[in-house]
Symmetry: D2
Subunit: 374 residues, 4 copies
């Protein structure tokens, strides 16, 4: 591996051109032709390693919840489109991103509310924070979701949501790849021509069809680039994680970790975003590693601490935090008696599809970073 002191821009192999009157005149001439000299920006655009503008951030649910609830009387759902408080990374404000090219926000739906239907090229996912009664209709399939359930709205599927509870709001977390798709100049948006879909007769049909260890046979082959299974309820997901914990030690960096999976491919649920659920055993502290790709974490159970790029972030259920690309990170369960779980979503499928995924373990101090805020 490259040693730290090799990151020297004065060495041969890097751009080392000093300005001169002659050169400055040349640069002006180039600019007139919509051109420039590569060596003036080469070291910046060819960095030694990723230089994300995103920074690690943790949002406490205890802080966000009152703000989100405040939005309920403030704006009508129909006027807002979606009533969402989005979480904005200080380094990514121009993209409305929480980290890297990922967007996240907390959406609130009042009792009995129902949104209109739309679709967009961006892909979306949901993780429910609180409230029974939420539903979503995705390409005509109605799906009910409860606390800590995970669900997806793949790219370009019609979708609309609502809350059929009579007396309490639902708050769920949205995750989207909007910044990615916008940066790639590939986003589209349509309002449903009839404003609302007509759902099919069977609720939760994707769970009924794809929720087991056998797949429907003989039907038309599923060829879309995303999962036909649209929801992963909390109970069986947590159960699967506990079962795996009986069979394996787990990863030194992540504890016992599983991926929500497209059952017809064994791959990620959507082509741009993957989602994971991981379990830290009581008292477990993982080792640090780093990888390309950005991650949004939500504490799903218990309490713990994550050290990201040397900063400590304590979390408990409902808290959301982000790890920028190539930042060292490690997690610990602060409870000695109960396990702790983190839900997360990321852009790893992009990294893998484009040949950009890299990973390395933290080499020093038995795998633990020194921290700056004790």
């Amino acid at each position: 591996m490259t040693s730290e002191n090799s990151y020297d821009d004065e060495r041969i192999g890097r751009a080392r051109v000093n300005d001169s009157p002659e050169l400055l005149a040349y640069y002006e001439e180039l600019a007139k032709h919509e051109a420039g000299a590569l060596w003036t920006v080469a070291n910046e655009i060819e960095p030694w390693y990723p230089q994300p503008k995103s920074v690690p951030v943790l949002w406490r649910y205890a802080d966000l919840r009152p703000l989100v609830r405040k939005a309920l009387p403030l704006v009508k759902a129909d006027d807002a489109g979606r009533r969402v408080v989005m979480l904005v990374n200080p380094g990514r404000r121009e993209l409305s991103a929480a980290v890297g090219l990922l967007y996240t926000g907390l959406q609130i739906m009042g009792p009995g509310e129902a949104m209109t239907a739309h679709r967009h090229q961006a892909s979306a996912l949901r993780f429910v924070h609180e409230g029974a009664g939420a539903w979503t209709v995705v390409d005509g399939q109605k799906l009910k979701v409860g606390p800590r359930d995970f669900a997806i709205t793949p790219n370009n599927t019609w979708h609309e949501h609502g809350n059929e509870a009579e007396d309490h709001p639902v708050i769920w977390q949205d995750g989207l790849d909007i910044p990615l798709v916008n940066t790639l100049d590939a986003n589209f948006y349509e309002v449903h021509p009839e404003l609302y879909q007509r759902p099919g007769p069977v609720t939760n049909s994707s769970l009924l069809s794809y929720g087991g260890n056998l797949l429907p046979y003989g039907a038309e082959k599923w060829t879309r680039p995303y999962s036909p299974l649209l929801g992963w309820p909390w109970e069986p997901s947590y159960h699967a994680l506990c079962q795996l914990a009986r069979a394996t030690e787990g990863s030194p960096y992540d504890g016992v970790i599983m991926e929500y999976t497209n059952p017809v491919t064994g791959g990620p649920v959507m082509p741009t975003m993957a989602a994971h659920l991981q379990l830290l055993r009581p008292g477990q502290a993982t080792r640090a590693h780093r990888h390309t790709g950005s991650v949004v974490y939500t504490a799903a159970k218990g309490r713990g601490v994550s050290v990201i790029a040397g900063q400590r972030f304590e979390w408990q259920q409902g808290d959301i935090f982000v790890v920028p690309s190539w930042a060292w990170h490690e997690h610990a369960n602060l409870d000695q008696g109960e396990d702790a779980c983190l839900f997360s979503f990321n852009d790893f499928p992009v990294m893998h599809s484009l040949g950009l995924y890299r990973e390395e373990p933290y080499p020093d101090h038995d795998g633990h970073q020194p921290t700056t805020n004790p």
Copy 2:
């Protein structure tokens, strides 16, 4: 579609050469050079449609069970290798095949018995008929199986079996592709150098790891050509089928049908054999169709009748029957109150991999064959 009367070997485009003294002399000369005239066999080796030597057969469990139990005192497991009564198609005796290039048999293991370990290039699967207490160790993983559970022993994995019950035998059905692999001149066999494997500490670890709708993440990628999930217990499999029955009408030819699936690919459990479980609703009678590929069926629940190439075969739980390639077949549940289930395995993955799969619906009489034995 080709009409029946086009199957005429006298028409142009077929070999129509009559013997003559000159030709017979020529054929003899060819034979001396390990050669022959194509036109003497062309119509036979290029048939209008598949001409399987296999015939439809049904074996009643009520007949087989006493025969299988008789083997228990007759031969020692160690001497037999495996104590199995194999089912032999009258048209495939030279290959010991039940149908096509598929082998099946009923294996009995007495209380406390344990077989030695071996491996072979042929792939194997199991479907348990009766008795709790059976176990198998596959490449060091111990798996327990009970009645109507399905399990696999993929090609070239070490495996050994036993029965840990104290007071009753276990009878399970083996399914193997031995005739296929032998015909392809590709079978290998090894006895385990230590006769027995040392199983890992966790029983049923593949179920614990791969039995949910999430997959283990971060471990070494599974790249073998078969499923890392080795067992599909009856209860969740039947439950999955009942769930699907709530979401879908099912297939007109097969009722509600699912495939036991490799969770990391969404494909068949092994590269040469697939397995299915299907449910016929009370009183349901499916339409007939035919396809390339051979199938071994086992009645897993209830009672019914299948019409195969115009012959009626009544079945109840435990009975085994076969459908040769390209034979018309349809199924009916004879009970008006309970559903009926068929487990089956087949060589469809071979058909698909080699570009040989074809299927067509029975065109007449509303999809039902006239039968010869009413």
Copy 3:
């Protein structure tokens, strides 16, 4: 690797049951129920390693050519369907196979002859031995082929052939997977409803479209399981081989060897058969190895000797010989000044698709087999 002396059927782990009056009675009882005792055939159907019935054979073109030419006046093409002398392995006569489940034969077409069109589920390939003027129409595309050109007629494509030379016959070699497809009970045959196809306006269009290092873009994606490129003329194929010989040492077992390739997948030209072209440098003698899968070789250039299962077979251009599955084989160029080339086709795609491919080097005598016929 398993040592030779471990192939002992008396050891534990093999079937070792002796007949007894009681057992013989039991076997009779089983036979009445279309059943049998596995242990009576287990050692035979689960061999230690492949036991092909095929044997190594070499057919001299000098012997075959007069026999093939004799067929020209003896039978009319229209009556024969195809006028072909097929090469029949002494161990595979019942399947009309040259080796394993592969068929080969020499087809002769007189000046001006044109065959009728048909199609079959079996796949076919051609390697031209002599005569300019041959053509084939495959699914409406006309392709011209000359000496040592390779061409394919993938499964279920309409095809018809002819010879537009005015004064000499064409002899080409057919290779088909008929024995495989018949054994799998999956063959179909149809005569073209109009007896002849109407070829499109552009001859050799697949060569024009797919014969370079760029692929047509923007057209409908090619999704059939075989190559859209249908022909590989000798000159560029031999040129490619000579170029590779400049860049690489080649394989110790095969010299410089290339595969005729489906340009849209990089894989074999058809799902059941692959074809190769290999070059032995002047005087080169390769080491022996063996693998599952059967091979038909045709000497395309020069002269040499192949040792197969310990037997020497000398060959020169036009000769055809076969290597059964798992037989040791090695090749040598007997000329000290010119390179020698072998064209071959095989069933390796079947072995790979079904997870059955194995290969091992000959361990003794510097990789060379002792021979029995010096």
Copy 4:
């Protein structure tokens, strides 16, 4: 398709919230928590269709060439890293991109110059504008390139370049995905520890090995995510295009168009960038279409005009122009006697891998856009 007048942000289904003192106070409170209200940006970040900041630009080679040659005496290659005039889209200056997330520039190497070796996560390609004598060493393989040859330097391969001509410089065009990889926070850069690679003994070995219609067999399987063939010389590429022109009408939007292809997959040469070569017949004018994905075109032969988003851009050999994502574009050959060719590279593989590719034909005026600059 959605009609133009449906792009109305006042309709239900879009965010339509007006500011109020109460809301403004709420937004300030959110900002304190690194949060925001989605509805304040929703219509902007969920546009009706892609809103690229890039604009169409054409750079005349006649303008650029003197500027590029001027750099030769101005900066030493060793100091510049690479002596490149980059082409910068007025809408993408902050990313040094020519269009979308693609970078391009003209690199000049003086007689006898040799650059040092480095590698980066970004992928690179070259298209030579003028000068014989250029070479590149990619992961130890030396490749020589001449005018209009295309070559690649896949992600993370070591590479260094030079010009072995004695008396003239070489100018080639670089294409890289640097803006993409930086935006994804995934770029890495290393200087070669020995500054220069030691090339293997065979020049052009990838062309020798992979330049035909057969692939090397028996070697270790190529599993990297890019093409093992590294160069596509002009002559055979143009020949392939002319051959295809004999077999096909071509695309209504692109004329006769081919893709430079990875021979082991039939797919694009690298996971993030594809390259094409297209031919416009004498006088041919294509119809307009648009698609997601950005394209950099270089006129490789002849002269013509492209209409992009309603603007006319005339070009001749050496000129470079860009088409932003979702911009209408059409091409015409202005010569009535000679064909015209466009080389291009793009980010279509990104669009396809991430499920973001869309395309549509221009619906009006027989497929031709009205132009604003006649």
